[in-house]
Symmetry: none
Subunit: 205 residues, 2 copies
Amino acid sequence: MNILIADDHPFTLQGTKSFVESYGYKVLDTCSNGVSALNLIKLHSPDIAILDINMPGLDGLDVTKKVQESKLKTKIILLTMHKEMTIYKKAKEYGIYGFILKEHAQSELEKCLQEVKKGNRYVSLFLEEDLISDNPNENNALSKLTLSERKIIELITQQKTSKQIAELLFLSEKTVEGHRSNIIEKLGLPKEKNVLLKWAIQNVH
Amino acid sequence: MNILIADDHPFTLQGTKSFVESYGYKVLDTCSNGVSALNLIKLHSPDIAILDINMPGLDGLDVTKKVQESKLKTKIILLTMHKEMTIYKKAKEYGIYGFILKEHAQSELEKCLQEVKKGNRYVSLFLEEDLISDNPNENNALSKLTLSERKIIELITQQKTSKQIAELLFLSEKTVEGHRSNIIEKLGLPKEKNVLLKWAIQNVH
DNA sequence: AAAAAATCAGGGGTTTCCCCTTGTATGATT
DNA sequence: AATCATACAAGGGGAAACCCCTGATTTTTT
């Protein structure tokens, strides 16, 4: 098991390395940007590459894409600070093996490595909470929504209020609010204020 | 030489620890927030404390201030992601011993520790450069805001409500609301609902 | 000493969001 | 023909969040 680690922050890089080694794996090499990471992967084809998403130049996602395109067999684990659904969705398309949030990484990295080693995939548990509603119907949660509902959620991502949406679509504000409720139920979102806006910002586009 | 390290990101914490140990120093303890850091400092009075600036609750700066006020003899080294003049100035007044940018920390931490051990102060070389380039940078709307205000707008971009922000910063909700009003006035934003969130989403980062 | 920043309080007004319910139309299922 | 499911529309009610204002104290900065 050879592992490559890439992260542009020296401290985080060292931390990751340190954790990985403490689990008993061998770290083949490390680097601090996407280009180097790609080169090293091509050169040594490590079993696993742990990549930070936010890197200058080629980011973790770009590298993943190129690794897939080149049909390299290195398995990719991505590390990210924020839970951004858009990125996760893309990452899934590119065939990543692991996806972990840095905040909780400590508790998950070891398990993730175990699973990936076996050939399985592992996604941060903290991410899946938000994905429960997202997963069952393939990659697109929006597909469950009707046309009107989709129009409305589109406008919500533009930070329009129900009132503004109502005006734009020549509807009663109440109608828009009704649609909102339906959307929330369909997606199984928690009962918070502004859930829809928060969800929309992270999931649409 | 006993050293305490505080950082809310597990990876960075581990990385820092790992580096420090590799230089031959002993890490007394670590923690992930300012309150714990302060308690541990009071309890064990380590020789040196390496603190991250961005932490929930008490941040590194707050801890530094309190350490100075309590006339504790622990020497503080601050780690920061962003090079903010305001913070650096304050830090200097609170009598910090070291100030390092995370990006370049690797190359500077060891030297910094050496100097601080001798009783000298050490400031990141990369900071002075950026201080110059930061000065004429008054076009930024954020530069008009005070430190507290910036903290708050940062949390607004993360879609926190005033209540949540108040909890995170240990403030009254009223204080947060007051800051919001001030920010809105300083930026000359229109009188709409949620103006701040909308503005923040589009203008910060 | 004066100005600015930070903290908090009380109270008020408005908006927005969300829930629950009702109603209609349509089209598919039984 | 009757039932069922679904989309769509709209209303009432309530809680939460936001914004505003005045005023006050304390700390920090200048």
